[in-house]
């Protein structure tokens, strides 16, 4: 059976007689009015909300640290007595948080620009996969930022408390290490939980999209 035979057979299967009602313009209009947003529109909205929340958190962390450092919201002498390595760690973590946020933001807009509404199938697939991946990473980035901020905050807070009370100096490093470990462990557990939820909801769908894209790319 050749291509023309296939076409001939297909030609006998008409859409007009497919059992579907032929809609008039009013029916099409009312169908359009009833529509709810697609999954991608909803996820895109969530990502934007996530960015706003993330920006709020990042700004809060950076501004709070800046005000603390200049002594506006805490005792400047206490801040000044913090060891250099702790101040450096705080500065590096703030820089890291800002860099991650900016990189993430740019990555998101690069994916959005990848494909407009009329793009081909390959780019449509790449965009959906990209946006879903960004959505998944948004939570990881948020967790990572909270973890870094909690660790530096905990270390600085604990050190300050020891300076004020002049007790437990000998336990400084072990307690800080233990605290860091507990925070990292808690973050890891939350990460596992979020990953499990994401995979349960979107995992197979994402795999299917990746397989479809791989099929398109197999000979390219």
């Amino acid at each position: 059976m050749g291509a023309e035979d296939l076409r001939e057979i297909w030609g006998r299967i008409t859409a007009d007689s497919s059992g579907q009602p032929v809609l008039d313009e009013n029916q099409i209009r009312s169908m359009l009015k009833k529509r709810s947003g697609s999954l991608m529109e909803k996820i895109d909205f969530n990502i934007r909300v996530g960015f706003a929340v993330l920006l709020g958190i990042v700004m809060f962390i950076v501004v709070y640290d800046l005000l603390s450092f200049t002594g506006h919201i805490s005792d400047a002498s206490l801040q000044a007595s913090l060891p250099q390595w702790l101040l450096m760690l705080d500065g590096i973590s703030n820089f890291l948080i800002l860099s991650i946020f900016v990189t993430f933001f740019l990555h998101y807009f690069r994916i959005r620009r990848l494909c407009q509404d009329n793009c081909d199938l390959r780019h449509a697939l790449m965009k959906v996969i990209g946006i879903l991946t960004i959505y998944q990473r948004l939570f990881v980035v948020l967790l990572f930022i909270i973890m870094i901020s909690s660790i530096t905050g905990f270390a600085a807070g604990y050190y300050t408390s020891i300076l004020e009370n002049q007790t437990m100096e000998g336990f400084l490093i072990p307690v800080i290490l233990f605290g860091v470990l507990v925070i990292a462990l808690l973050t890891w557990l939350i990460f596992l939980l979020l990953r499990w939820i994401f995979r349960r909801v979107y995992g197979n769908y994402l795999d299917q999209l990746r397989n479809t894209l791989a099929e398109l790319d197999e000979l390219e």
Partner: protein, 163 residues
């Protein structure tokens, strides 16, 4: 613009029906996908610059939506069953028994293809050129040819195995 869009959709709605019939197994899924495609077409319509035929543009949006549809995937996570295309009816009723059998065989064979293969064979059977198929799917014309040969072989295999 809305009036113009609605008129174009009314005339060309058969394209959406064809795509929903190829990709969905049951009436509820078909209805959902029809609505999803319609919404996507309306959203994308301002970007339609008449560089391609309206029908080609419609196929592009409809196939993109069908293949990336989350609702469709949730309802049928595994490969489509042989029920897909079952509601396509034959154009006229003076066909021979042999032709009817061929039609049934083709329907079942197409329903066993992957999502990408379905889109390529659908466009091919709708007389779209290799250039148009490449434009819609984002692959090269050479690859469309290679893929088409594989799909034809696969279809023949499916049809022979059922005869």
């Amino acid at each position: 613009m809305e009036k113009e869009f609605l008129a174009l959709i009314r005339v060309n709605q058969g394209i959406i029906h064809k795509v929903t019939n190829v990709y969905c197994d049951n009436e509820e899924d078909r209805k959902d996908l029809f609505q999803e495609i319609l919404a996507q077409l309306w959203k994308s319509y301002p970007g339609f610059r008449q560089e391609s035929k309206f029908s080609t543009w419609m196929y592009r949006i409809a196939l993109n939506t069908a293949i990336t549809s989350f609702k469709k995937w949730r309802r049928q996570p595994v490969a489509s069953s042989a029920q897909s295309l079952a509601n396509f009816q034959i154009a006229d009723d003076n066909s021979s028994a042999e032709t009817d059998e061929n039609i049934a065989l083709l329907k079942r064979a197409v329903s066993r293809l992957t999502g990408i293969e379905k889109s390529i064979i659908l466009l091919f059977l709708e007389n779209k050129s290799y250039e148009e198929i490449a434009d819609i799917t984002g692959i090269t014309q050479n690859y469309v040819r290679v893929k088409m040969n594989r799909i034809k072989t696969k279809l023949k295999g499916f049809m022979l195995s059922e005869e």
